[in-house]
Symmetry: C2
Subunit: 626 residues, 2 copies
């Protein structure tokens, strides 16, 4: 709700002073009615003639339009004599709820004050005529001008329950921005929200404000400067806009309007290298920049997302209160939001979160593909539901149960969905980061490539009709082995994900705390699961899950089940890429001698790249004249 | 060999004129001996006094040093009176092979010419004294100054077999640069070669020149301007330097020295996006830029590499003669070098070449890993050798045979090599390009990740000791199935590689010709094989190997052998990542219904990403309120 306040009273009662003070305190813009006279009026007054009511008509019309706009966006304070009831009626024509503040004082006091004002000249009789014209209202707030301007302002704020400047700004009212803003408003923060009113977004702010009229603590803006001015300093602004070049464009618009010490937060899925660059760019303006990964989708944003903030630690300290207030809470009630590290580390962690998510989804898809030959959707839902009651519990497993059960008339919705998976790039980013960092990221890569291969739907259908399949399918897999294999693959997925974090942490000296990250991921995000809760405990002791005998024993015990599952896949002509990646990774990492010596020999043969020898512990380079 | 020529004779015989003309024709720098007098001599001559032999001593010493340097680098032409035999002996002290050119003319002629020269003043008696001092040589070339300067110059060039300006320059004398330069020299091209004389590279040019004295058509330089000036226009310079920022640095040094129409060639493994940028950068100087992938290692560079040139087609036309002359020849005798396409397409194709190479090596490593449990190195060499006589013939298979047989004393070298594979990034680049282009690149990615996993040698050894393996190993795989599986995986590898090229060709509108690329790859490069020859035939008809019934039938027939191999791997606890990737890719591409519908359902569930439906051929986006 945007507050519109009209401060009125006779000339010399102090309207402008009070309006200005009130504006400073509340962040609402103020206007002086005198600035809205049409040129004819200005000319007439310049000739020393008094205005009559017909002169006032277009002027009041203008002010009415202004107040109407302000009631829809940003609110406003107007200083205006508004002596007659009919003037006030006119002013109120377009704004819903005008708060009227009448500055009352007697003739003698005002006359004395006016005569004391330096350089102020008043025609004799003018003040008297004002008092004659004045129709005192029987509504609104009445303040006594004998009080000090500060007292008067405090009184108005108290009476109108007016808010001071907003403590936080949200730039961008897309699905995520809207949801986060309402989440913040629910927590009682005074908010300013902004969306551009261009292209198809003319009505975004107006619609958001009208849909959420019940919130008294949100101010809406489409003017960037007014949005910025409405914020208490140091200003804190969350950008919720499309990742990519748009973020740079918006930064270049907003940075010049900010002051030293203000903080921008990028809550989108920006690439971590872009974020590192933007942190530096903001420093040039003395502005802090926090790259915050936010997971949980619309639902999480509205009710408690998982937040991964990176950037300057002192900048984070300035925004921690609100980010932690809106975040999901972990099992012990602590917010799933904690400082991650410098530069783009927050967005890196979010990227890896999405990579883990890709794999978790792909594993479920592979299980589904494997089981649907021998089970109905509902049977599979029952099976998964029983798993979800135990150690395999996860958000993604639980929604898979719901998906398997969902019907549209007689049909299962799932059966109607085309098998062409989309992607928005963060999975691919994870794999590319792993390739750059020399990290073994086979599961994420496999999940990304499986999405890609699914996208060649037409070609697949064509080839399927051209390639005869003689292989006989088997009846059904061993469900107990399946469950163990799933548990195994999820553990490896998390290990690979955290290994990627570990490599980045070392490469960029981020000093990431895995216990914190697992805790942040334990609620609010798409990959929350009871496994994540369990990992939090391990990561308090070591960053490498394989260093725990318990984990090694578990994987070692389950290994043969994965082999059995892969074998079943082979016998039934089903690609189990992510399961296979998990298995091979485990096998490789627990194998002393790999055949990579042949590769080194080949490289030395054709390119003289040299090799190390197992009989030379000094690690020197050797070359053979083959 | 660097030619050093001294043009001598009495004052006024035309030494400077001839030296300058000769320099213009040959590109050799010329010097005037008069410019090398020590200051004491200059002073003495300024006072009108004649120099005596002791004055001449330090001057001749200086010239001798200069000629010595020139004989080591770049060659030179010196115009110097050198009237006495002892002066000439002194000059020759440091240079190996000075060519002496004596300009002979009689007193009357020279006197007449000198008196005709405008502004030229000669003390009476000076010319006479010169003739008195002159000791005519009984060696070298004697020319008659009655001939025109052009005739004299032609005669000297003919007699000394002097070369005109070089037609080609090679910048950088590392292993590849040296080998390519000698390859060019063998083909009879006049070459200039350059290497900086900094850091540890002080002697690179001198050493190269002295090691290759037999070549009369190579000039060596360490001065960049002289190197550039030694080239015929339009200049053509091949950069053989480390890929990365160094290329940009060298470009910024060399571009200002070039003229419009000159062409730079980058023969290193530059990233294709860097090459595209450099093509644009060079345009600003009116200089062409060709990014040429060169494969074949040292041996290929020396005797015939495979070359993949990309950039402007008209720029390529300027360098085609020499690149095609030094390239390997295909089965029909055509050079394995042909214009690839614009921008960085040449380097992109080279990058994919290396990706295919990674996989070919990894497949052999997996076979080796699988077989070494049941076969000796020599038995395996025999097996591979028999394969190499048939349709599986390839360069990499053949060197693997040699590697398996290579012994060092009683030990096989291969057994001594540490199983930690290195990499130089191009495999990882291929995978990243595939991730960007939405291409399924599972085999290259698997080969890269297998190298990465091998690098964690210490951790693997440690884990291997901590994880008990109970699985019993089987005796030996079915060799016939193994051979079929290998054939299958290689075909899929090439299909995936060319799919990556296809995607890039479409994305960047490069219009790549696969028939040309397979032909270029049929000889000179690391992935040459009889399969490549076969593919050339297919690619003349279609870019997609799967569109050929013959290929589909072959893969379909071999499919079960791969399954059998993978199964053997599972039963023997061996990771067969690249074989597995080839198998799953084939299975996926020939499967109509993949389980990706579940992924789309999940994405729509938590992120409202929408999905397409199989019952809506319009491809519209649907959303379910789950």
């Amino acid at each position: 709700m945007n507050q519109v306040v009209v401060i009125f009273g006779v000339s010399g009662c102090g309207k402008t002073t009070i309006a200005r003070l009130l504006s400073e305190k509340t962040g609402l813009p103020y206007f002086d009615a005198d600035d809205f006279h049409p040129s004819a009026n200005i000319e007439k007054m310049g000739r020393g003639l008094a205005l009559d009511d017909s002169d006032r008509e277009p002027w009041l019309e203008r002010l009415s339009i202004k107040l109407g706009e302000a009631s829809k966006e940003g609110g406003a304070i107007l200083a205006c004599s508004a002596l007659k009831e009919k003037y006030r009626k006119k002013l109120a024509e377009r704004a819903n709820d005008i708060h009227w503040v009448y500055l009352r004082g007697n003739y003698e006091l005002i006359k004395k004050r006016m005569s004391e004002r330096e350089g102020h000249f008043m025609k004799p009789g003018l003040l008297r005529s004002q008092f004659e014209t004045l129709e005192e209202p029987d509504y609104g707030i009445v303040v006594n001008i004998e009080d000090s301007p500060q007292e008067i302002t405090e009184k108005i704020i108290f009476n109108l329950q007016m808010k001071n400047k907003s403590v936080f700004g949200v730039y961008g009212l897309g699905v995520m921005g809207r949801s986060l803003a309402l989440n913040m408003a629910d927590k009682g923060f005074e908010l300013s929200v902004f969306n551009r009113a261009e292209g198809g977004e003319q009505q975004v702010v107006a619609q958001f404000m009208s849909e959420n009229e019940g919130y008294g603590n949100i101010k809406g803006f489409t003017d960037l400067r007014r949005f910025v001015d409405s914020l208490e300093q140091p200003r804190r602004i969350l950008l919720m806009i499309k990742a990519g070049a748009v973020v740079d464009q918006v930064m270049e618009q907003i940075l010049p309007l900010l002051s030293k010490g203000d903080v921008l937060i990028d809550g989108g899925n920006s690439h971590y290298t872009d974020t590192a660059r933007r942190v530096k760019r903001s420093v040039a303006f003395g502005v802090g920049f926090i790259g915050a990964g936010i997971s949980g989708g619309e639902e999480g944003a509205r009710n408690g997302p998982s937040i991964m903030p990176g950037g300057g630690q002192s900048d984070y300290a300035k925004v921690a209160d609100i980010l932690e207030a809106i975040a999901a809470k972990d099992a012990s009630g602590k917010p799933c939001c904690q400082y991650i590290g410098p530069e783009g580390s927050g967005h890196f962690v979010k990227m890896v979160h999405n990579g883990i998510e890709y794999v978790e989804m792909q594993l479920l898809a592979e299980l589904y593909g494997l089981l649907k030959e021998s089970m109905s959707n509902e049977e599979m839902a029952d099976l998964f539901e029983s798993w979800n009651r135990g150690s395999l519990e996860s958000y993604l497993l639980s929604i898979t149960v719901s998906i398997l059960r969902k019907k549209e008339g007689e049909s299962f919705v799932l059966d109607l969905i085309l098998d062409r998976a989309g992607n928005k790039g963060t999975g691919s980013w994870s794999s590319k980061a792993a390739l750059d960092l020399g990290v073994v990221n086979t599961m994420m890569a496999s999940a990304v490539f499986e999405r890609y291969v699914s996208s060649f739907k037409k070609r697949r259908t064509e080839l399927a009709s051209q390639v005869p399949v003689s292989q006989e399918k088997e009846s059904s897999p061993d469900l107990a082995a399946l469950k163990e294999a799933y548990s195994f693959a999820r553990l490896i997925n998390h290990q690979q994900g955290f290994e990627l974090l570990d490599a980045a942490s070392k490469e960029y000296a981020w000093n990431l705390d895995f216990e914190v990250i697992a805790r942040i991921w334990s609620n609010g995000c798409i990959i929350k699961s009871s496994l994540m809760n369990r990992l939090e405990g391990y990561f308090g002791q070591d960053t490498d899950l394989f260093s725990f005998a318990e984990i090694r024993d578990e994987l070692s015990r389950q290994e043969s089940s994965v082999g059995q599952l892969l074998d079943y896949g082979l016998r039934n002509r089903m690609a189990l890429s992510s399961f296979s990646a998990s298995y091979y990774y485990w096998i490789n990492m627990t194998t002393d001698l790999l055949p990579a010596n042949l590769i080194q020999a080949q490289r030395d043969f054709f390119g003289a790249h040299t090799y190390q020898r197992s009989d030379d512990p000094g690690g020197r380079s050797h070359h053979t004249d083959w």
